[in-house]
């Protein structure tokens, strides 16, 4: 027995709430009624991520994608599509008559995601070089070695408009060109795989899923600038990525795609892996280079920039993993092809690590210019538990927050900057109404204070002072002057710190002050945490008109702070209460609330 058709009905939360369950039942009933039980299998699936158009029904093997289906449509889907083999046009997502059918790839929602960097992740076996080669791997290397001159390679990058994905967004071709033109016989290529941002893991996933793309890209850069040695600086906490890189390098050496006389061209290039101990500041390029040289990873003032004076004083190209992953595609497909994707000032795609209060967390690769709303709602499936969207933190500890008012901003380097945040490496943390903005700022600052190398005073002292002020505010000990102090110290750090770490660490504070000034004031003036998160500022209460006197809360309370007669209103003794929240969780009548 084998089925001829499979009907997939979305059983995700979004579709379920619009009756997908009934659709599912009706489809099964209809199949039975028409004697199709043994030839059609109806299956309930997980969320397709396209909740906006739900309920979704997909029919295989035709791959027909039906949207906004209602329970009444079940009959027609079976008798038309299954029995007569005619698609039900009015329900197809793509109602464009010229196209035969709406295949998943034709749907713009899935086009909202477009995989360049992650093209091979989840598709090939990263430990098998043949699979990489089968997906056009090392084709760009062929071109770079045999069909192009070094300046052609750089021109291709220029046409592509690729900018650095490690944070600052510097044009990649320009960097390579500086190194190419710099004097000296010995030059180096470096891959920055430090990935220090909390919440970001796209570089790790790229290395784990597609290590050869980085090797190929670095070799191409070697050809372009005249370097014969590369280094991949990767944190030791990424053992799987390291292992896969090692396997990949071994295999490509075996094939003659890395090492001496690559593909018989006479060009030599090899790569070494250098392990970092996982300090955030070691991701900063000058500190990273110092660390490779065996020194302590501390930043140095720039200029001179690494492009002209880097590793051991030699011209060095240093790029981020995601930047590298774009290079082979640009070389094999051409810069013009790449430049068609994205916005005027930011070309190509960006990978985001979507986490926090979001239904579909994961890695999302979208063309530049996609709006935040598309990412959060269409791709991310929105916020779980019917909570309200509060903000998105982008750019990790060096970034800021974006509020609901700006959900429709197309995301690229300049737009984010205008909003007081940055692209950073692409961590994207979604917050809902239960997240306290002061607490969030404190979290990021806590991170950078810990990670400061301590070399310069603005960062070392300023960061600590900012942190202490935020800490006081969350404890209800803040004063109105604190807001001015935060701003003054923050500005001073931005100006006077030696490296990007200190210069950017006040960003989360500045950005949240700008958008959520009222929430700071609530903490300081009213001694109140609107999100109900800062323990010293909240208290638990029982609503007289909702409490039925069941006594469940009193039994749960670990410190016996709740008193009351059976069937009578219960009360909380705030002198005893330790704010554990157990009563809030226990009450079945929503009588307990946080203030």
């Amino acid at each position: 027995m084998a089925f001829t058709n499979y009907i997939l009905v979305c059983g995700g939360t979004g579709c379920e709430s619009s009756k997908s369950d009934q659709i599912f039942k009706n489809l099964i009933a209809e199949c039975e009624a028409q004697g199709l039980k043994d030839t059609v299998q109806v299956v309930k699936t997980g969320c397709f991520g396209f909740c906006e158009q739900g309920p979704i029904v997909k029919i295989l093997p035709e791959d027909s994608f039906y949207v906004r289906v209602s329970p009444e449509d079940a009959k027609e889907l079976i008798s038309e599509h299954i029995v007569k083999g005619r698609e039900v046009k009015r329900l197809l997502y793509n109602r464009d008559e010229s196209k035969k059918r709406a295949r998943v790839e034709d749907i713009e929602f899935y086009q909202k995601q477009f995989r360049i960097v992650l093209r091979n992740c989840g598709v090939i076996n990263p430990e098998n070089i043949d699979e990489y080669i089968a997906r056009d791997g090392y084709k760009a290397l062929e071109r770079a070695l045999f069909d192009m001159k070094p300046e052609d390679i750089i021109n291709e990058l220029k046409a592509a408009g690729l900018r650095g994905r490690g944070g600052a967004g510097f044009p990649t071709w320009m960097k390579w060109n500086f190194t190419k033109q710099a004097a000296g016989d010995v030059k180096y290529i470096v891959c920055n795989a430090d990935e220090g941002d909390p919440g970001a893991y796209m570089d790790r996933s790229t290395l784990e899923g597609d290590p050869h793309s980085i090797i190929e890209a670095m070799t191409i850069a070697g050809i372009a600038v005249g370097a014969n040695q590369g280094y991949i600086y990767i944190r030791a906490e990424y053992p799987l990525a390291i292992k896969r890189l090692q396997i990949a390098m071994e295999q490509s050496r075996g094939y003659g795609l890395l090492g001496k006389d690559i593909l018989g061209s006479g060009f030599d290039f090899d790569i070494e892996i250098r392990l970092g101990a996982g300090a955030f500041v070691c991701g900063e390029e000058t500190a990273l280079l110092a660390s490779i040289e065996g020194e302590r990873g501390m930043p140095k003032p720039r200029p001179p920039f690494p492009a002209t004076k880097g590793l051991w004083g030699c011209p060095t190209v240093i790029n981020n993993v995601e930047t590298w992953a774009n290079v082979p595609v640009i070389i094999s497909r051409g810069g013009d092809w790449f430049a068609k994707i994205g916005t005027e000032d930011s070309k190509g795609t960006k990978v985001f690590a979507l986490t926090g209060k979001i239904r579909n967390s994961g890695l999302v690769e979208v063309p530049m210019g996609t709006t935040l709303r598309e990412i959060v709602y269409d791709i991310g499936g929105g916020i779980p538990g019917n909570k309200a969207f509060k903000a998105v933190q982008t750019g990790g500890p060096s970034g800021g927050v974006i509020t609901a008012d700006y959900l429709d901003t197309p995301i690229d380097y300049s737009q984010l900057q205008k909003l007081g945040s940055i692209m950073g490496s692409g961590g994207m943390i979604v917050m809902d109404e239960d997240d306290c903005i002061v607490d969030v700022a404190k979290f990021y600052l806590g991170f950078t204070v810990e990670e400061s190398c301590g070399k310069c005073a603005p960062c070392r002292v300023g960061g600590r002072t900012l942190y202490n002020i935020l800490d006081r505010i969350t404890k209800g000990e803040g004063e109105m002057e604190d807001i001015e102090k935060l701003k003054t110290i923050g500005k001073a750090m931005q100006k006077a710190s030696l490296c990007g770490l200190g210069q950017t660490s006040p960003n989360p504070v500045m950005s949240t002050l700008h958008y959520f000034g009222d929430e700071y004031k609530a903490h300081i003036k009213d001694k109140r945490c609107p999100a109900g998160k800062c323990k010293p500022l909240i208290s638990y209460h029982i609503l007289a008109d909702k409490c039925i006197g069941c006594g469940v809360c009193a039994r749960k309370c670990p410190v016996h702070a709740i008193n009351g007669e059976r069937r009578q209103l219960h009360e909380i003794d705030h002198d005893i209460c330790i704010k554990c929240g157990e009563c809030y969780k226990a009450c079945k009548f929503d009588a307990v609330y946080v203030r």
Partner: protein, 130 residues
């Protein structure tokens, strides 16, 4: 394999491309691809992989089925993720595949040619390689 020339690389690519499209490796025409990125492994992909190998062994299917691994599919919220490719069945990505579901996939999908309810998720993005 010894070092390659340009011609050999191109030849290899052509032959492997056909193979990858069919995913048919040395007579094993059924493929189970397990997402083994860090988040996959953290979610238990190793146990999933073991369960597949065990169940295939028990059902005497090792001759026909090839189990391989790949990186992050981007669907980290439903790890462990598994893609099953076989003739006469649509390519399917399953999510939340623990050891028990893995065994079910072998019995139901591979042997019974029926999809496993509740565990299907879709590929998150179109990609550029034809």
């Amino acid at each position: 394999m010894a070092k390659m020339t340009l011609e050999e690389l191109r030849k290899l690519r052509d032959s492997k491309k056909k193979e990858l499209n069919k995913r048919d490796v040395a007579d094993k025409n059924i493929q189970i691809i397990v997402g083994m990125g860090t988040c996959g492994i953290a979610a238990g992909a190793k146990e999933t992989l073991d369960a597949f190998l065990q169940e295939l062994d028990e059902k005497k299917l090792t001759e026909k089925v090839m189990v391989t691994q790949t990186g992050c599919m981007g669907l980290c919220y439903v790890e462990p993720t598994v893609e099953v490719i076989m003739p006469d069945m649509p390519d399917v990505i399953y999510g939340k595949v623990d050891a028990e579901v893995a065994r079910k996939i072998v019995r139901k999908h591979i042997q019974g040619k029926a999809l496993v309810n509740d565990h299907i998720y879709d590929r998150p993005a179109a990609d550029i390689v034809e």
